[in-house]
């Protein structure tokens, strides 16, 4: 793999989609109801499709997904966070898909983004619906949703680190994202954590290949078979 591929912004976007898709795939058979099972699988499949399309532009998709070490992955730390409970999964989805919706909306010269933005709008809508229900549901669901927001908030700042090579106004992205997500959290009766001025946004160097601890085991599971039987056709 050449260094040019590693530096391409599409690689970071593909890694985001692949890793979140894998996390959502881990819900299979474990969702609270059958209908959510289908919804989460649907979103995972959309994201996997996005990842495959992006990887294919960069090189061999299997090689990129299965043969890179943790340090070579450029996904943001938000998407690699463990599923936790249903609230953590849906708030993670809200944060990420709101960002993806704004980003893909700006990447009008990238065919994949134009195609995928419709999917992403649906992902955001689904996550928004659930954030409203959990936040404004029972005391217990509110507590869990607030915990999810508080836990994941620190990983959102990384989303607005500029990805060199993408023609995007990152300041507009950040303000648009904050406005939208804050609006949803307000409606869900959830408290918005402190902003970057309090250091709450500090975490996150996934784009530079520095990942959080749960990422390694996830990757080991994902890559196990391919690494055990390198070169096999499947």
């Amino acid at each position: 793999m050449t260094s040019t591929v590693a530096d391409r912004p599409e690689l970071a976007l593909a890694d985001d989609a692949l890793i979140l898709s894998h996390r959502l795939g881990q819900w299979a058979g474990h969702a609270p109801v059958l209908e959510e099972e289908v919804a989460l699988a649907n979103i995972a499949l959309d994201l996997l499709g996005q990842a495959r399309a992006l990887y294919s532009e960069l090189g061999d998709e299997d090689e990129l997904a299965y043969l890179r070490e943790e340090r070579a992955f450029r996904n943001c730390q938000l998407v690699e966070q463990p599923n936790g409970d249903f609230a953590v999964t849906l708030v993670r989805q809200l944060f990420f898909s709101s960002w993806q919706e704004l980003l893909y909306g700006q990447l009008t010269s990238m065919p994949l983004a134009v195609k995928a933005v419709k999917e992403v709008v649906y992902h955001r809508d689904h996550a928004e619906q659930w954030t409203l229900r959990l936040g404004d549901g029972t005391d217990e669901s509110h507590r869990r949703a607030q915990h999810a927001v508080d836990t994941l908030w620190r990983y959102t700042g990384e989303l607005f680190q500029p990805l060199p090579g993408l023609d995007v106004c990152w300041d507009a992205m950040r303000s648009g994202w904050e406005k939208r997500v804050t609006g949803i959290l307000d409606r869900a009766t959830l408290t918005v954590p402190d902003g970057p001025q309090h250091g709450g946004w500090a975490a996150g160097a996934g784009r530079q290949g520095l990942h959080t601890e749960p990422f390694g085991p996830m990757l080991a599971e994902m890559q196990h078979l391919h690494r055990s039987h390198p070169g096999a056709a499947w």
């Binding site: 109801v33 059958l34 209908e35 289908v38 919804a39 649907n42 649906y122 809508d125 619906q129 229900r133």
Partner: protein
């Protein structure tokens, strides 16, 4: 489950379809999520379609016991059936 996740009936009109057809049922906590679940389960997200969701409790069904008087018109009275009309030319979708 049954009180928090009641049953909904789903009716779908395909893009070129003329009427909504009963597609099946699903569980959802409210109408908004019933719509989204119906989209995932019954439409595979094709474009240009319409979905209705109705709480199953809102549907009144005819009773199987009344089947005979309810559904068996007198077959010997053909004037009840609109078979004597000629369809004018150019009428579509009849």
């Amino acid at each position: 489950m049954s009180s928090d996740w009641p049953l909904w009936e789903v009716f779908v009109r395909s893009r070129r379809g003329l009427s909504h057809t009963h597609a099946g049922s699903l569980h959802a906590p409210d109408a908004e999520l019933a719509l989204r679940n119906a989209r995932d389960l019954y439409t595979r997200r094709s474009e240009g379609i319409s979905i209705w969701v109705v709480p199953s409790s809102a549907v009144t069904a005819s009773s199987p016991d009344e089947k005979d008087p309810f559904f068996e018109p007198a077959a010997d009275k053909p004037y009840r059936h609109p078979t004597f009309y000629e369809v004018p030319e150019g009428v579509k979708n009849l």
